[in-house]
């Protein structure tokens, strides 16, 4: 197990602007251990993708969409929020460790908030026991 926690963020390309702090390999330069995968809309994120990420060794997953109410495609961020909360199918599987998932709803100018929230999230991950699989 490496020291830094591996966290992946699945982010809407219209939500908080990470251009300039993400290098070519998809790592976030401001948050150590953070990988970034962009989507056209956070509504495209499947709960299955989150589960796959955790299965593939991610310590945590941050879902980032635009401010609730401001989806460019009208409802995408509401959809994924409802899916994460289990109110809209398809939902996360029962056994998924929900402590390892965080959802942020941030507008384009809110980069600092993204960085501080992710760092805080990584700190809580450090306090969690290692996943049983390891």
């Amino acid at each position: 197990m490496s020291d830094a926690k591996k966290v992946i963020t699945l982010i809407c390309e219209r939500a908080c602007d990470l251009s300039g702090i993400v290098d070519d390999s998809g790592s976030c330069t401001e948050v150590p251990g953070m990988k970034v995968v962009k989507f056209p809309c956070s509504g495209m994120i499947q709960p299955l993708m989150i589960e796959n990420a955790i299965k593939a060794g991610a310590d945590g997953v941050v879902v980032t969409g635009c401010q609730i109410g401001d989806c460019y495609y009208r409802e995408g961020n509401r959809m994924i929020r409802e899916r994460l909360l289990g109110d809209r199918p398809p939902t996360l599987k029962k056994g998924t460790d929900r402590r390892r998932i965080l959802a942020l709803w941030l507008a384009k100018p809110q980069r600092q908030r993204f960085i501080s929230e992710s760092k805080e999230f990584i700190a809580t991950l450090n306090n969690l026991a290692a996943p049983e699989a390891k």
Binding site: G86, R98, R99, L102, L104, W105, L106, Q110
Partner: protein, 127 residues
């Protein structure tokens, strides 16, 4: 319940509710044309709890000050009502206080309700 009322939110809630009630009472005072008379429903209500004297006194004290100011403002804006009708300048005061009460109420709801709308969703851990 009592715990909620004593929390910071509960205190804000009570303060705003008090403000809305106070402004709403001014609506009742306006409705009768800024005069000192209290509407029948208020007379009845306040008599039952023995507060009628205080309320009527309060209303009477408003008439020469606030009532005078509002009347002067409206007349300055060219508002006139037919003295033979039941319309009165108080209608405009009524609408003003209604607007103020709605604003206070709206702000109060926004303060109380804003907790639900966060920029972050932490998933509840089901067990």
């Amino acid at each position: 319940m009592i715990k909620y009322i004593l929390s910071p939110k509960g205190i804000i809630l009570l303060a705003f509710a008090g403000a809305v009630v106070a402004v709403s009472v001014l609506m009742a005072w306006s409705e009768l044309g800024f005069t000192g008379t209290t509407p029948d429903w208020l007379t009845d209500l306040t008599s039952r709890i023995g507060l009628h004297g205080a309320i009527a006194g309060f209303f009477n004290s408003l008439t020469p000050s606030l009532g005078e100011d509002l009347t002067k403002y409206l007349q300055g804006k060219g508002v006139s009502v037919n003295p033979k009708s039941t319309a009165s300048l108080g209608d405009y005061g009524y609408i003003l206080f209604m607007g103020v009460a709605l604003t206070i109420g709206g702000i109060a709801i926004m303060i109380i309700g804003r907790e639900d709308a966060e920029e972050k969703t932490v998933l509840p851990v089901k067990k």
